[in-house]
């Protein structure tokens, strides 16, 4: 049985990297006593898949992972068992069955919704004035790290939306294997436009967006549930 889990990587765990988070989640799952499926082979590991890696420094408000079980069980029972096995700042928010035949979560993700706060007010002042100027551009070149090194790409099409509201930058950024724009890359690009140093920021990933063929974007958990 495939189960989708929505969880929160809380404020205190902001500085946890993806590998540490994966290891932690594996131990939470092991503690839970759930009938987990393991990979075959010499070094068996839990079948656990994160929809999208979250970088060090960011809080994740609705992160999504898939856990595979050896047998069917009630999702609310699943949720209870897993919830009590997690440390306080890792909260399980929702669990649901993923229909067989659903593609891997990673391939469904197309974007992330982010919130960003610039720490010092002076930089914030300067930066928020750049939002409209940024959006007015048709191309914005930036370096993107890929497996084979750095490559210059146009990030403008990957910035689906960008808005400054009540002291926060709200943005929806593309996040696909082939094309993506990380918040840090966008920030750097904006700072280049404003001719200013890159300030310290805090980041929250609010939720992930998925896309079904031919239809528009939708929150990933909703898309998976409806499936």
């Amino acid at each position: 049985m495939r189960i989708g889990v929505v969880f929160e990587k809380g404020e205190r765990l902001r500085h946890l990297g993806h590998l540490d988070l994966m290891r932690t989640m594996q131990r939470c799952l092991r503690r839970s006593g759930l009938p987990l499926s393991y990979s075959k082979g010499f070094n068996p590991h839990i079948l656990l898949y994160f929809a999208s890696a979250l970088s060090v420094g960011a809080v994740g408000e609705h992160e999504i992972m898939e856990v595979d079980l050896d047998r069917n069980m009630d999702v609310s029972q699943f949720m209870n068992l897993l919830s009590v096995s997690c440390p306080p700042d890792l909260r399980i928010l929702q669990a649901f069955e993923i229909r067989e035949g659903t593609p891997a979560l990673m391939s469904l993700v197309c974007a992330g919704a982010w919130r960003m706060e610039v720490q010092d007010p002076v930089s914030d002042q300067r930066l928020c004035g750049q939002v409209d100027a940024f959006l007015a551009q048709t191309t914005v070149m930036a370096m993107r790290k890929t497996k084979s090194g750095e490559k210059e790409v146009d990030i403008r099409p990957s910035v689906f939306s960008l808005e400054y509201r009540e002291g926060m930058y709200h943005m929806v950024l593309e996040s696909r294997e082939a094309r993506s724009c990380k918040p840090g890359v966008l920030l750097e690009a904006m700072c280049r436009l404003a001719v200013m140093d890159v300030p310290r920021v805090r980041l929250w990933r609010e939720y992930l967006l998925g896309e079904r063929q031919g239809e528009g974007m939708e929150r990933l958990e909703r898309l998976l549930c409806a499936n």
């Binding site: 205190r12 946890l16 594996q26």
Partner: protein
């Protein structure tokens, strides 16, 4: 002082390895500060990754927190980048749980695992807003206590630690906490607290003793200066490990630490009597946990942590009476949960071939053997009851069992060592290599790797070698070169050796007296800390410190001590008598071995306490 969480967050954004300082781990204990009557700050004077790997910390943390009325929170030594930030921001050292400053706790306890962590103790107190010197601490500052193996010679830390707990901590810790809790609300001065602590068995309060010296610098006498302080402080011994506290939940770090697994202490103590080994004496007598208790604990811990790995911990796990049953039992119970079992400190003469085969099912890492010395004569001197034949048998078993990587641990600078012994070390490497090639090609794993490593011997208190001089650094370096030259010609063997400067300082502090407090303070104030990290170790500053304080390090490290010299640690009764140790030293010089306690009691002194040692007073065979 209320810690500003926002400012801590801002610091964590800038430091390397922020999870070290983050807290919030699974099974970390959070208790309401205002509703607990005693606040205990547990301090491990090294980094998070090292401290969190330490079993004793987990036992004491669990033990104190198991008392509903008390709270225990953790502190570790921050790395240099964090220290700089904390100073810049004016943020004191804070606990991982509720982020309270060290100075807000009623008591703080340091665990003393190695001498090279002593400057970290000063650094942590300093960062935490605690006055460094006992004599200058104010009424409302924490009572500073310390325990662990190095507490058996507490004197170098006498200026900084109010009270030491000697021996097994499970019971004495509770007594000490109770006393401090009662004192906290009593309105009495610190002195009253220290005197009350001195009355607890197993507690040593250095300020209640006066030391006088001979003209040559050796100690004339060390005497109590108040009626509460005993002539000798007897170490605490937990007689029954089965009923002793053992945590069923331990904090599980988010980030990788050195020993990232469940550690199951299967027994305490060791019956073998290696003469260089301080732990072997300090933890006497040997006590085992029962098979049933261990299997229960293993399951509890596995369920509460989710760890995928469990290791057996003790000085000599191979000697555990039902080792094969234990391993089989663990495998059976934990197999479905895919937990692997590893045996860390295998002695070369004690491993059942069968259990080797059982553990290897899970994984194959490198095997470690500790012959310690290169010739039979020298192994007899140190009473390491291992023969070359044993070593070769075990090496062959290991190679046939599919291992191809072997580490050989040895020491240089042992008493009576000659050039032949050094050549012998290289020779062992050669013979192990030959042993590998004798195993048919299709039966052995590829990629032979033999690492011979040599550490410099440090004479320790409460061992038969406590009277010996440590070799000078130049001699130790010469010896390293000799071995290196021998090993250069052997294919497949690499040679590793440790920096002799660190061993030299270790030798000074392990048998040092309270005058070294000034050296420690000077070194710390001139930038020494994190000394066990080679990138931070500042040997020259240490030498300056000795000079500035008018003390000669060679006096502590390289001097042969007289049979009747008063030692700084004579105030401690470690159970084993000085007469026994001297007798062992004499036998060592004749290269005469002493049998294992299991073959008959050797009369080490522990037998004076009835019912403590299971092997005591048995007829000799």
């Amino acid at each position: 002082m209320q810690m500003d969480s926002e400012r801590i967050e801002a610091m964590l954004e800038k430091v390397q390895k922020a999870p070290r300082y983050m807290g919030g781990e699974m099974n970390a204990v959070i208790k309401p500060w205002d509703q607990t009557a005693l606040h205990y700050g547990f301090c491990f004077p090294d980094t998070y990754e090292i401290g969190m790997s330490h079993l004793g910390m987990k036992i004491l943390y669990g033990l104190v927190n198991a008392q509903p009325d008390w709270l225990c929170e953790r502190f570790f030594m921050p790395w240099t980048d964090m220290i700089a930030l904390m100073k810049e921001e004016g943020i004191p050292l804070f606990s991982l749980e509720s982020r309270k400053a060290l100075c807000q706790f009623d008591m703080i306890g340091f665990t003393l695992q190695y001498e090279m962590s002593y400057t970290n103790i000063l650094a942590m107190m300093d960062l935490g807003g605690v006055t460094l010197k006992c004599a200058e601490r104010k009424r409302d500052e924490p009572i500073v206590v310390a325990g662990g193996p190095c507490a058996f010679n507490p004197e170098p830390l006498a200026d900084f630690v109010d009270a030491f707990m000697i021996g097994d901590g499970e019971e004495v810790t509770l007594d000490v906490c109770r006393t401090i809790q009662a004192w906290k609300t009593s309105g009495q001065d610190r002195q009253a607290c220290l005197k009350a602590l001195a009355e607890i068995e197993g507690v040593y309060v250095p300020s209640l003793y006066d030391v006088t010296y001979h003209e040559d610098g050796t100690i004339a006498a060390m005497r109590p200066n108040c009626p509460q302080a005993p002539e000798k402080v007897r170490k605490c011994i937990v007689t029954d490990l089965n009923s002793a506290y053992y945590p069923e939940k331990i904090p599980v770090p988010f980030t990788e630490i050195v020993h990232d697994r469940i550690m199951l202490e299967i027994m305490r103590g060791c019956t073998r009597g290696c003469r260089f080994c301080q732990a072997g004496i300090l933890y006497r007598p040997v006590r085992e946990r029962s098979l049933d208790r261990l299997l229960d604990l293993a399951c509890e811990l596995e369920e509460s942590t989710g760890y995928e790995d469990i290791s057996l911990s003790s000085l000599s796990s191979g000697d555990y009476t039902c080792l094969a049953d234990l391993i089989r039992g663990l495998m059976k119970k934990l197999q479905d949960r895919r937990v692997s079992v590893s045996l860390p400190s295998l002695r070369i003469d004690s491993v059942l071939k069968e259990s080797l085969e059982e553990t290897q099912k899970e994984r194959k890492t490198s095997l470690t053997f500790a012959p310690e010395a290169g010739t039979q004569r020298l192994r007899d001197v140190i009473n390491k009851g291992v023969t070359e034949e044993d070593l070769m048998d075990k090496a062959r078993d290991a190679f046939e069992g599919g291992w191809s990587s072997v580490k050989l641990y040895t020491m240089i600078g042992l008493p009576t060592e000659t050039e032949e012994d050094l050549a012998g070390i290289a020779d062992l490497g050669a013979k192990v290599t030959a042993c590998y090639f004798r195993v048919p090609r299709e039966k052995r794993a590829k990629g032979l790797r033999v690492v011979v490593s040599a550490s410099s011997f440090v004479p320790k208190p409460f061992t038969p070698f406590q009277w010996c001089a440590q070799d000078t650094q130049s001699l130790l370096r010469e010896k390293q070169e000799i071995i290196k030259a021998h090993i250069r010609n052997i294919k497949g063997v690499t040679f590793n050796y440790h920096e002799s400067r660190t061993s030299f300082l270790e030798a000074c502090f392990s048998r040092g007296d309270r005058r070294l407090g000034s050296v420690l303070l000077y070194a710390y104030q001139h930038g020494c800390m994190l000394d066990s990290w080679s990138e931070c170790f500042q040997y020259d500053v240490w030498m300056q410190a000795f000079e500035a304080c008018g003390l000669d390090p060679a006096f502590y490290a390289n001097r042969v001590r007289g049979r009747d010299e008063v030692f700084p640690w004579d105030v401690i009764d470690a159970g084993v008598t000085r007469a026994f140790l001297w007798h062992e030293w004499e036998k060592a010089r004749r290269a005469e071995v002493t049998p294992d306690c299991r073959q008959g009691c050797q009369g080490c002194g522990i037998q004076r306490y009835p019912g403590v040692c299971q092997y005591a007073n048995r007829r000799r065979v």
